[in-house]
Amino acid sequence: MTDRIKEIENLLPDRLKNSLFSGMFGFRVTYDGLEEIRLRCAQPPEIRFKGKDYRTDKVIIAPQDIRQCLEYMSHYSLYAFQEEIRQGYLTVRGGHRIGVLGHAVLENGIVTGQTSLSFLNIRVAHEKIGCADTVMDFVCKDGVLKHTLIISPPCCGKTTLLRDIVRQLSQGSVIPAKKVCVVDERSEIAACVDGIPQNHLGERTDVIDCCPKAEGMLMVIRAMSPDIVAVDEIGGKKDIEAIESVIHCGCIVIGTVHGADVKELYQKPELGALLKRGVFGRLIVLSGKNGAGTVQECLEL
């Protein structure tokens, strides 16, 4: 745990480094409860801790604090993260995602980068090993895997659940171990840094990082002969077409999708069509009723 705290402290400007975890907000901030740290130029720092937001007036973030933060996050090499900056986030060691906002640079109406970065949002990574224990029997029912969809509103733990399902399938905790390929478009599932997953995904998992989902799925089925392809936030037409290719290759797809419930999904044009055809055999619906990760229902179609 000390290492995890050190990971966060190493990202912060010198003025906040030693004080964030030791009383700056009037109480002891622990790693377990810390969800977000927000730094805004000319504003006091803010944290999200155990679901609540806290600010302090002891410090006002200066432009040099933001600059120092960016230097530490990028290892003094912002030039190496131009694409990530363009997309608005970068992933650092430990799997923490840092949202960065500033002044957008446009070329022919397309965002090519950002300058004057003044707003940072450090989303603290929390891997919950074992959070899929309650659903693994359902996912592997009768020893047979089916294409599975995790449906959840935002911030209800679908990626965390997917990650643990991948780990358990790769490790063979319920059924014999499978070869799993993860298409990690936003570096949230594996949180790779220098090609090395920062999260535990199991020994038989391959990851393609920062690749658009559709292209990534086609690449993995061509190159890695996976048993299972895991993908987060399935949405558009291209994603659906790629999923069809994966299915035709005989691979199992386990994915997540935004939605409050199954009814909502049937209304989506492309995904609804897949559901109506019975492509997905198992659905897991999450909610935030009793905190993130609450399994609302498991449906076998």
Partner: protein
Amino acid sequence: MIKLCGAVCIVAGTTCYGLFYAFQKKSRLWRLKQFKESLLCLSGQLRVARMTMPQALAQIGQKSRYDYLSQFYIFVSENLEQHTYSGFWETWTAGIDSYVRDIYLTESDSEILKNIGSIPLHLDIQMQLAFLEENILELENLIEETQKDIRARCRIYQSAGVIAGLVIVLILI
């Protein structure tokens, strides 16, 4: 006999000093060439592999044939990761002062090498490469200038060493 020994010692001493001075000039040239070679490697690392600066510097440090350069690059890389100094320029300058700047390089050579530490790391990769290219060119010009008359100068220093010794012996005799 004693006078002869003394004379030989004096001439040997001044000749050695002349040779050492010539060696210093040659060493300066070698140092500049070695540093230029390492900057070319750095430029390549950034252009092809798009590495972060600490990674690129660590790789160069590990592969360098020259101990002082290896120590320098590893020092800068490690201190960047540990945030020991307040920025890249400070870390680079500390490294130059500790490992590169020595009796062979002049003050202006050190300033040119330190200037590389002001590389604008917050801009895009093209700017990094352009900046490195500019500094490599400056080093090349310096090397060329030094190389032009180094042979003649080294001969002068060596000869001056011998002659100075002989003059001192004559004066003493």
